[in-house]
C-alpha cells in the first residue's frame, strides 16, 4: 500500500480509530491491531511475501530467547549466525541471486569457460532490505547483551512489521523501538497535530517535488544521448531532488504516522543538501542506515582506529557495502566507491567532524565560505547520483562524457513544466533553509501562533499538492525497490 494512495487514506483513519477508540485500554490488543494492520499494509502488494516476514520474526524471536539462556560462547555465536544466515540468506536470494549468477557467468566466459547457469525470474519483496536489517539489529544487540530479549511475541512481531516504517525505514534499532511496544501509549493532541503536519510535508516532498522531478530526470536519463550537456546537468539536479524528496518525504510520512499512534521514530534526514562537506552529508543523509553500518560493520572492523591502510580499507568497505545494499548493480558499487573517495581525504586529515552543528546557526543566510562549501558538496553529491541513477556503468560514463562537451553552454530545450518544477524546487529549498534547525522544515513556524494564517498555510500546501502534483499515475517510492 502506498502512502500517497487512496487506499492508505482509508486504511489510516480506520486503524487510528480502532487503535484509540476500541483497543485503547489494552496494550496487548493495540499491539495485535498493529500487527494485523501491518500485515494488511504489506500484504496489499503481495500476500505471499508475508511468509518471509513471519519466518524472520519467528527465527529472531527464538534466537533472542535462546541467546539469553545460552552461556557457551560458541553456541551463542552459532545462534547469532543462524539469525544472520536466515536474514541475509533471504536478502541474498531475492536481491542478489541474479546479480551473482550473471557476473559469475560473465567472469567464467571471460576466461574461456562457458558455464550453464540460469538466472531466475525473482520478484523482489518490497522493503526486504529494511526489515531484515531491523531484525538483525535485534539479534546482534541481544548477542552483545545490550538488549534483553523479549518474551512477548506480539510486541516483537509489531516491532518487526510496524507498518509506518516497514518498507522504507527509518531502520529502527530494537533498543529504541521495541521498548515502546511494552509501554502504554497516550494520545497527545499536540503530538498528533505535529504528526499530521509532518505527513503533509512528506506528501508535499513526494508528490510535488519528487514526482515532478522524476518526470524530467527520467526523460533526460532515459534519452541522455539526445540532450546537450546543460540538460544533462539539469537531469542530474532533478534526480538529486527527486531522490531527496522521495525518500525524505517517505521518512516524514512514516515518522508522522508513527506519532499518530504514540510512537517516536528516529530522524532519518537532517537537511543533507545544506552540508558543508561530504562527512557532514553522510551524517545527515539516511541517518538510520549510516548509523546501522557504523555500529554493526564499521566499528567492529576497527572504525577509524589503527593504521592508515586500515582506515582506508574500512572506509571503502562501508561505502561499497552501503552502495551494494541499495541494489544489485555495479552502478551502486561505483556510487559507494566514489563517496568513499570523497570521504577519505577528510578522514585522513582528521577533518571529518569539522562541521557538526547547524549551518549558519545564528544568522539568516550562510557566509560566502559556507555557501561555497554547500555548493561544492551538493555538486559532488549530484555528480555521484549520476552513477546511482544510471542503468549501467556505461550509461553513467556516457552521461558524464555528455556533460563535458561544448554543449554544456547551450540553453536546454525542455518543456515549460521543467521551469515550473525548478521554481518549485527553489521554493522548497527556501522553506527547508528557514526551517533547518527544526526537526522537519515546517515543524515549528511562527504562523502557528495564529489560527487563520496557519490554516491558510495548510490549505495552500494541500492545494499545491492537488494542482502541482504530477497527475500521471502514482509514481513508486524509489527506496521501495531496495
Amino acid at each position: 500500500m502506498f502512502f500517497n494512495s487512496i487506499d492508505f487514506a482509508i486504511f489510516l483513519p480506520i486503524v487510528f480509530f480502532l487503535y484509540w477508540f476500541v483497543f485503547s485500554k489494552s496494550i496487548k490488543w493495540q499491539n495485535i491491531l498493529i500487527v494485523v494492520a501491518s500485515y494488511v499494509f504489506y500484504g496489499w502488494w503481495d500476500w505471499r511475501f508475508l511468509s518471509l516476514i513471519l519466518f524472520s520474526t519467528i527465527i529472531d524471536y527464538v534466537v533472542g530467547i535462546k541467546l539469553k539462556k545460552e552461556e557457551d560462547h560458541t553456541k551463542r555465536l552459532i545462534l547469532l549466525w543462524i539469525s544472520i544466515g536466515v536474514n541475509i540468506g533471504f536478502l541474498g536470494f531475492f536481491k542478489y541471486y541474479n546479480f551473482f549468477i550473471d557476473n559469475f557467468t560473465t567472469a567464467f566466459s571471460f576466461f574461456g569457460k562457458d558455464i550453464a547457469a540460469n538466472s531466475l525470474n525473482i520478484i523482489l519483496p518490497v522493503g526486504i532490505s529494511f526489515y531484515t536489517f531491523q531484525t538483525l539489529s535485534y539479534s546482534i544487540d541481544v548477542y552483545r547483551k545490550k538488549l534483553e530479549p523479549t518474551h512477548d511475541f506480539i510486541a516483537f512481531s509489531a516491532f518487526v512489521s510496524f507498518f509506518p516504517q516497514l518498507v522504507a525505514g527509518p531502520i529502527e534499532r530494537a533498543t529504541h523501538l521495541l521498548p515502546q511496544f511494552y509501554k502504554k501509549r497516550y494520545f497527545k493532541y499536540h503530538n498528533a497535530v505535529l504528526g499530521l503536519r509532518q505527513i503533509l510535508w512528506g506528501l508535499f516532498k513526494k508528490i510535488v517535488i519528487a514526482d515532478n522531478c522524476a518526470k524530467f530526470s527520467n526523460m533526460i536519463f532515459n534519452n541522455s544521448s539526445e540532450y546537450p550537456g546543460s540538460a544533462l546537468i539539469l537531469g542530474a539536479i532533478f534526480f538529486a531532488f527527486q531522490i531527496y524528496g522521495d525518500f525524505s518525504g517517505y521518512s516524514d510520512i512514516a515518522i508522522g504516522t508513527s506519532r499518530l499512534f504514540g510512537f517516536d521514530l528516529m530522524k532519518n534526514f537532517a537537511y543533507p543538501y545544506f552540508s558543508r562537506d561530504i562527512a557532514e552529508f553522510w551524517r545527515r543523509w539516511h541517518i538510520s542506515l549510516s548509523t546501522w553500518f557504523r555500529d554493526y560493520l564499521y566499528i567492529p572492523l576497527g572504525g577509524s582506529k589503527g593504521s592508515t591502510a586500515r582506515k582506508v580499507r574500512n572506509t571503502f568497505i562501508i561505502f561499497i557495502v552501503s552502495g551494494f545494499w541499495h541494489g544489485a548493480n555495479w552502478t551502486f558499487i561505483a556510487w559507494g566507491a566514489l563517496n568513499a573517495i570523497y570521504f577519505l581525504p577528510l578522514l585522513l586529515m582528521n577533518r571529518n567532524r569539522k562541521n557538526i552543528g547547524t549551518v549558519a546557526e545564528n544568522s539568516l543566510f550562510p557566509s560566502v565560505r559556507e555557501f561555497i562549501s554547500i555548493m561544492i558538496t551538493f555538486s559532488l553529491t549530484t555528480f555521484a547520483w549520476i552513477f546511482f541513477r544510471a542503468t549501467s556503468l556505461n550509461h553513467a560514463l556516457g552521461y558524464i562524457k555528455g556533460i563535458f562537451t561544448k554543449s554544456v553552454i547551450e540553453i536546454p530545450d525542455l518543456p515549460k513544466k521543467a521551469l515550473i518544477t525548478l521554481i518549485l524546487i527553489l521554493l522548497f529549498v527556501m522553506i527547508e533553509w528557514f526551517g533547518r534547525n527544526k526537526e522537519f522544515a515546517i515543524a515549528n513556524m511562527k504562523i502557528y501562533k495564529y489560527r487563520i494564517p496557519k490554516w491558510m498555510f495548510y490549505y495552500s500546501i494541500i492545494i499545491i499538492i492537488y494542482i502541482w502534483g504530477n497527475n500521471s499515475d502514482n509514481i513508486e517510492f524509489i527506496y521501495f525497490q531496495f
Binding site: I6, A9, I10, I462, Y466, I467, N470, N471
Partner: protein
Amino acid sequence: MFFTLGLILINVALILIVEKYYNKPYNNIPINDQDEIFILADSHGLPLKQNLRESGIYNFAIGSDSYFDIYRKIVYLIKYTNMNKIIITADDHTLSIYRENSNNIDRSVKFIDYNDNDFLLENNYSLMKEKYLKRYLPIFNTKTTGIVEGFFRSMFKKPKVRSLDWDSFENKKKASKARAKLQFKGTNSSERLKSCIKEIVNLCKLQNIKIIAIKYPLSKDYLTEVNGRNFGADEYFAELGIKTYDFTKIYINNDEYFANQDHLNDLGGKKFADELKKRLNL
C-alpha cells in the same frame, strides 16, 4: 473541527466542478429501455449525433472511450435495454497504447455494479474505490486536476474557439502530423485492449447480440500522415469472426465534411449517418 470543515468545503467545490465539466456526459443518459441498436465509439462517433434515432439506433459514443469503457457500457445495456445489435469502432488507433492510457475508465465505472464481472476491477473493494471514493473525493483522483485547472483558467481567460472547418484550415499537414504522432506512438498494440475485445465478442455471442465493426471516415491529409499504420483492431475482429466495414476513405476528397483531420463535422455526420443506414441496411 473548522479546519476539517474547510477541507470538506474544498472537496464539495471540487465535486461540483468535476460533475459539471467532467462527469456530465456520463450522467442522465436518455436511453430508452426499448432501444435495440447502439453505436459504441470514441470521439469519431460523436458527429453522428442522434441522427439515426429514427431508425432505432442510439448513439452512445463518448470522446476517448476505449474498449474497456465500451465493455462496461455493453454490460449496462444488456441489463437495462433490449439491445440486439452494436455498431462498434474498429479504427486503426483503437488498439494503441495511447488509447489504453487515455480513456474514460474513471467515469465508465458508473455502468458497473457489484455483481458484474468487470474486465478491469478485481474485487468489490476496487469497484467501491473507483466508483464512489474517487468520485466523491476528487482530491484523490489525479485526473480531475486538469479539469479544475481548466475551470480556473477559463475564469480568467476566454478559451480559444477551435475552428470546425477543416476545408479552410491552413495548416492541415501540421495538424494531421501532430495528431498521427499522438495516436500512433510506438509500434506495439495493447494486449489488454485486445483481450477486452475478445471479452466483448464472447459476451455478445452469449447474449445473441450482433456486432458490426466499422472504421470511421478520415481526411486525406490525415490518412497520408498515418501512412498505413494500424494497430489492427479490424484484423483482430476478423480473427474473431466479425466483419469490419471500412469507411475511412469514403470522403477522401470531401474536406468540407470534416471538422478537423479525423473528425467529421455536422454536415459530414449527417451524410455518414445516411451512408451507414444504406450500407448496413439499418
